[in-house]
Point group: C2
Chain length 170, copies 2
């Protein structure tokens, strides 16, 4: 394990193709969003988003705090939680409930669309996908139960395609 897991040679659309690639894109989206809604995209919020985006796996709030800290200038976890509140409220990052950790959003989906998270037990990567079909069956089931949904959590733990290929070949 050299940096973030050992993913290297897979070709299926994967979560974070290792880092900064989508970071600028996400930051730009955040800036547009803040502009449009009259919100403040502060330095702490931007740096928190960058740290989450550049990591190839879900990060805990304390991990983020540590990465944001420099000798002589510690960032407290509570500040990170507040930044994360902002970022999750506006769909820039997602919380992975089963891991108590956070990942960058990969889709720019509206609040209505809910994501499905594929969490790999081997390499720890998280892939976010959207499926209209799942949405529909969920909606049908909920309507049938007379339940009015507000937020949905769908997290699948298992093994990603890349890790299946690497099974005994390592």
């Amino acid at each position: 394990m050299d940096e973030h897991g050992t993913c290297g040679q897979h070709d299926h659309a994967h979560a974070h193709p290792h880092g900064p690639v989508r970071t600028a894109e996400l930051v730009a989206r955040a800036e547009r969003l803040a502009q449009d809604l009259g919100l403040q995209f502060t330095t702490l919020r931007r740096r928190t988003l960058e740290v989450v985006a550049e990591e190839g796996r879900p990060l805990g709030a304390y991990d983020i705090a540590e990465r944001l800290s420099v000798p002589g200038k510690r960032v407290a976890a509570v500040s990170v939680y507040r930044a994360l509140d902002f970022l999750t409220e506006h769909g820039l990052v997602h919380r992975i409930a089963s891991r108590n950790a956070f990942v960058p959003c990969e889709h720019g989906h509206g609040a209505g669309e809910s994501a499905v998270f594929l969490i790999c037990r081997s390499c720890g990567s998280v892939d976010e996908t959207i499926s209209a079909e799942i949405e529909r069956s969920l909606d049908r089931t909920l309507a049938q139960a007379g339940f009015k949904p507000a937020s949905r959590i769908v997290e699948i733990e298992g093994e990603c395609g890349a890790c299946q290929g690497r099974q005994g070949v390592e």
Copy 2:
């Protein structure tokens, strides 16, 4: 709020129709299961199951520990965690990831079938339902992504039918 929430006059199939009704059933299931697999359904495990089953809402491990404790004989949370490990591994209780809490299983479903949890923001009740349709769309999406699932978490937060009816009528 008199005992466990204020649910009283609803008729849709609800999670725990207030307690001990299904408790005996669940315990019987656990005893059969332990018998068949040669496992130990100890007193602590049984009492933990009973406490979870008799509560009408998800319970945290520390809440369970408190309910199991009597003056002079404290049950430590770590013991409860171990009992809960046993119970969840064998499908007798489920963990609600978004609440860090536990509910009794209402369905006796096999390991393959995964449940959908409907969590009410108003009354805190949790309803467990099984939908073959959702399973199918999930399986299709996962297969398409080349992802091999091991466990699934589907938790919907919102408002249950009973609480919608009580909206402004209280």
